[in-house]
Structures are given as structure tokens and as C-alpha cells.
């Protein structure tokens, strides 16, 4: 099956490993991701929250560009996914807004006819391809892996899309089918602080610390996430968290496609595991990719 791929700004630079791993996992499972020609930034929360029509207009530009291919659009970044699907939903719900936005798009020679579906790779993997098919293609078992599944807040909210808003289980089901153990992790949709890490560091550090603490206390040996900003906050700021709160956490934070890719037997380099700042996952003193 073919999908239109919307990488988003963050996946182009700081989180290219996420983009690489999503692409290689999809390729391995026989799905084509075709990058959207000339996409622009989705607007993210920052833009959307301060300029209403402009926010919707630039986000709708992507939808308009993608519509002509008649494929679902796949956005791995939680923020992009939320914003694009929110725009899509609002345009369908509010005819007035739709009218305004289409006037704007017309200036750029575009039109959006509301026929698109916005998807997250996790949704596509589990609901389109199916856990059974993935399991059939899996090369290695994830046995010994104790995963804290961290969904982050924006992938399942604000409206219910493909999973529950408080207790999502898609990722848990996927990894338990592949042999991993999902630890009890009550923080799975708790906020990591997001952009507050730049603007109000004290608060974001505390939130991220609590998320890591819960994973460590529940004896997870890795945190697996779907959101680039969560990954950044939990991983890159782990040193600062240790310094601030006098802890000594050293827990790997990976993207779910990196772990899934490993199970499928995809090369470590292709999954961009080298680009992670924390150490690789260790099971009984051995690195994950050395086990096989």
C-alpha cells in the first residue's frame, strides 16, 4: 500500500533517526512512503495558538497538496499529526472556516476538498498492516526487553483517533506480540513539558524527571516513544535532569520504529540508533543489537 509521507521540520534535522527508521520499517513491510512534494511546516502549537486563520491556512496547504494523490497522509511527529488532523477536522466541522481557508488557498493556486485522512505511522502499522503480519516478518524476538511505552500527550489527544485518550494500548500490543515485556507505566500520556524546556526550564525538567523516574522505578530498561519532542526532552536533557535533581538515570530513550526495526532485523545504521545520545539498550550487560 502507498502512503503520502509528511516528515515535518523536526524530523529533517534533530530527529532524522526517527524519519530514517519509519521509512525503513515501512519499506521492510512492503509499504511505500512517498514524500509530499514541497511541504511546509504544519505550524505546530506555537503558530496555531497565536494566529488562528494563518495557522489553519498553512496547515491546510499541506492537506491541499497531498489531496491530489488520493492516499492517506502519514505524519510521524506527534505535533504535526495533531495539528494536521485538527485542521482537517475543523475544516469539516466548520463550513465558515473552510470557506475562509479555501479563499486563502486559492491565492496560492490550491484547493482542499476535505477528502484526506491524516494518519500516524503507529496507527498504520497496527491497524492497516496488522500485528500478525508484522510478527510473521519479525526476525528477532524482543525477549528480555522491558519497555516503558511512552505515547506522549498529543498523539491520542485532543479527540479520540485510533486509541484511547487516557490509556492507549496500541504500542503495548505491538511490542508484547513481539516478545517484549511492557512494564507498568502510569505516565504513558503524561506531558514531558514540551516546548517549556526552552521557555520555562524548571517546570519541564520536573515533568521529564517524573516520567523517567516512573520508568526506572518500574524496572524498565528502555523508554520507547512516538514523539520527537518527548524523545528530546527525556534523552538529551537526561544529564541536566540528573544534575538538577541529583539522580543518576541512564535509561535509553528510543523511537518505537527503532525498536520495531530491530525486531524486523533491519540494520542498526539504517535505524539511526547511533544518533541517540544515551547508550543503547542493554540486556544482561549486552547491547541489544549484539544479542542476535
Amino acid at each position: 500500500m502507498d502512503y503520502t509521507y509528511y516528515p515535518g521540520c523536526s524530523l529533517e534535522s534533530a530527529h532524522s533517526s526517527y524519519s530514517d527508521s519509519v521509512k525503513s520499517v515501512f519499506k521492510h513491510l512492503g509499504c511505500n512512503l512517498i514524500e509530499l512534494e514541497d511541504w511546509n511546516c504544519c505550524g505546530a502549537t506555537a503558530y496555531m495558538s497565536v494566529k488562528e486563520t494563518m495557522g489553519f491556512a498553512i496547515s491546510a496547504r499541506n492537506l491541499a497538496l497531498a489531496e491530489k494523490y488520493h492516499r492517506d497522509i502519514v505524519a510521524p511527529c506527534s505535533s504535526c499529526f495533531t495539528i494536521l488532523s485538527k485542521t482537517n477536522r475543523y475544516l469539516k466541522q466548520l463550513p465558515d472556516l473552510n470557506d475562509k481557508i479555501n479563499q486563502c488557498l486559492k491565492e496560492g493556486g490550491l484547493e482542499y476538498k476535505l477528502s484526506l485522512r491524516v494518519r500516524h505511522p503507529l496507527d498504520v502499522l497496527v491497524n492497516d498492516i496488522g500485528i500478525k503480519a508484522i510478527k510473521a516478518k519479525a526476525k528477532y524476538s524482543l525477549e528480555g526487553l522491558k519497555i516503558a511505552n511512552y505515547y506522549g500527550c498529543q498523539i491520542v489527544r485532543p479527540e479520540k483517533d485510533f486509541d484511547d485518550r487516557e490509556e492507549p494500548v496500541t504500542m503495548d500490543n505491538l511490542f508484547s506480540a513481539l516478545g517484549a515485556e511492557n512494564v507498568y507505566y502510569p505516565m504513558k500520556v503524561k506531558c514531558c513539558g514540551g516546548m517549556l524546556m526552552t521557555t520555562y526550564e524548571d517546570v519541564a525538567l520536573k515533568l521529564s524527571m517524573e516520567n523517567i523516574e516512573s520508568a526506572v522505578n518500574n524496572k524498565a530498561n528502555c523508554i520507547v516513544t512516538t514523539c520527537p519532542l518527548c524523545q528530546m526532552n527525556l534523552e538529551a536533557y537526561q544529564d541536566l535532569i540528573n544534575k538538577t535533581f541529583k539522580k543518576d538515570y541512564n535509561i535509553p530513550v528510543l523511537f518505537f520504529t527503532q525498536v520495531l526495526g530491530h525486531a524486523l532485523g533491519i540494520d542498526k545504521k539504517e535505524l539511526g540508533i547511533d544518533k541517540n545520545l544515551t547508550d543503547d539498550i542493554k540486556i544482561n550487560g549486552k547491547l541489544l543489537h549484539q544479542l542476535v
Binding site: M54, C191, T199
Partner: protein
């Protein structure tokens, strides 16, 4: 019931009346935003909010203040800028109030009216974001940080150096912003959208001549809005 029918108890000051009208206009683009009137003040939003401990007004208080007719206090508080938009409040609200969206509406109102909390320049991040977006069509993270800290606290930039170096070693920093190809068309879309985002004519309310102070600013004394 429409949103504009929600009335504040008692009489409002002139600025407050203006803020209220603009706020209603901001609420209009949120589906089902009239639910704001069915708040039962249970505090689920505050309890669910991971950052409410750092706010000077809790989300529940924000709604209470709106109903009491004091939007100015809300805009001068840090609350709306501390919100990390995780949607926990909105997910759990038993009255189905779109709390996070209301926070956004308040942010837009603050930007429009230039009313910010003192010594708390978080809104500069949003401004920097808009600036970069409008010139490239895509976000450039490194530039966003630089712009933001130049505006707020340039010395803070140095504290990012160690992390920046670690990221650079792993080739995780993009040094040059990527531009989209059809920047012309993109700007045209933005320009058109900007027209819709312009402050509203409705706010140019005319008041009775010679009317000053509290007594002069209730609904009855305000003339019909003058349309240019």
C-alpha cells in the same frame, strides 16, 4: 445559546467590555465553544494539569474569572503562557469544555491586545516562530532558539553550548534553514489569511460623550458598534 449571549454579572469597565467582545470573536472558531458557560467549577482541569503548580491562576480560576468578567487579570497572569498544551484538561472535563482551546484563544487575545504578564517573555517564542515560518515556510530549530534567547536572555544561549556540541557530534543539528520551493504562493496564502486575522472592526465601539468611570460603561450606555 450563542456565545455572545453569555453575559457577565454586573457592569464591566470599558477595556473589559472590549476584551470580552474580542474574546467571543476568538471563541467563534472553536467548535462547541459555548460549552464554556456550563463549567461546574469542579476543578478537574486544575487537577489534571501537569503544570498547574507553576501557574499563578489555575485553569479553573481562569474560567471563573472569565465568568466574573475579569479577562484582563487572566491576560496579565502567567497561566496561559505556562500551558504546555497537553490537552489533559480538555480530555477530562465533565462539561466537555475545550479548556486547551480556550487557552489558545486567550493567547491570541493577549497577542492582539499586547497584554502580557510582567517579566515573563514566553510569548517571544511564539513571535520568533512566526517570523521564521513566514520567511522560510519551514521551521529551523537552531534559529528559533537563537532568536528567542536574543530577545529574552542572550546569556542563556551559552548554557546550550554543551548540548549543542553533543547534538552536532551526532549530526543532529541542521545549520541552514530549508526553504520551500513555492515560497511565493505560500506568502500569498499567509497574506490572505492575515486579512482574516486582523483586529475586528467590531471593537471600535463608540461610547457616550462625557461618560466616564464605572457608571458609563454598562451594556445600556454603549452605542451600537460603528462599522467603518
Amino acid at each position: 445559546m450563542k456565545i455572545v449571549d453569555i453575559q457577565a454579572p454586573g457592569r464591566l469597565s470599558r477595556t473589559e467590555e472590549d476584551l470580552r467582545l474580542s474574546f467571543f470573536k476568538q471563541l467563534e472558531i472553536i467548535p462547541n465553544s459555548e460549552k464554556i458557560k456550563s463549567c461546574i467549577q469542579c476543578g478537574t482541569c486544575t487537577g489534571s494539569c501537569p503544570v498547574s503548580y507553576a501557574m499563578d491562576l489555575s485553569p479553573r480560576e481562569v474560567i471563573a474569572l472569565f465568568r466574573a468578567g475579569d479577562i484582563e487579570t487572566i491576560l496579565k497572569s502567567r497561566t496561559i503562557w505556562v500551558c504546555a498544551s497537553c490537552y489533559a484538561c480538555q480530555t477530562r472535563c465533565p462539561s466537555l469544555i475545550k479548556v486547551t482551546e480556550i487557552m489558545y484563544a486567550l493567547k491570541r487575545l493577549a497577542m492582539e491586545k499586547n497584554l502580557y504578564p510582567p517579566h515573563f517573555p514566553i510569548h517571544s517564542l511564539q513571535e520568533s516562530f512566526v517570523k521564521i515560518m513566514n520567511s522560510y515556510g519551514r521551521l529551523h530549530e537552531a534559529r528559533l532558539l537563537v532568536y528567542y534567547f536574543i530577545k529574552t536572555n542572550p546569556f542563556k544561549l551559552f548554557s546550550f553550548l554543551p548540548l549543542g556540541l553533543r547534538m552536532a557530534k551526532k549530526k543532529r543539528i541542521g545549520y541552514f534553514p530549508e526553504k520551500i520551493k513555492d515560497l511565493k504562493g505560500f506568502r500569498k496564502i499567509i497574506k490572505k489569511a492575515e486579512e482574516f486575522d486582523m483586529p475586528l472592526i467590531q471593537e471600535e465601539t463608540q461610547y457616550l460623550k462625557g461618560a466616564v468611570g464605572y457608571g458609563a460603561v454598562s451594556k445600556e450606555t454603549v452605542l451600537e458598534p460603528k462599522i467603518k
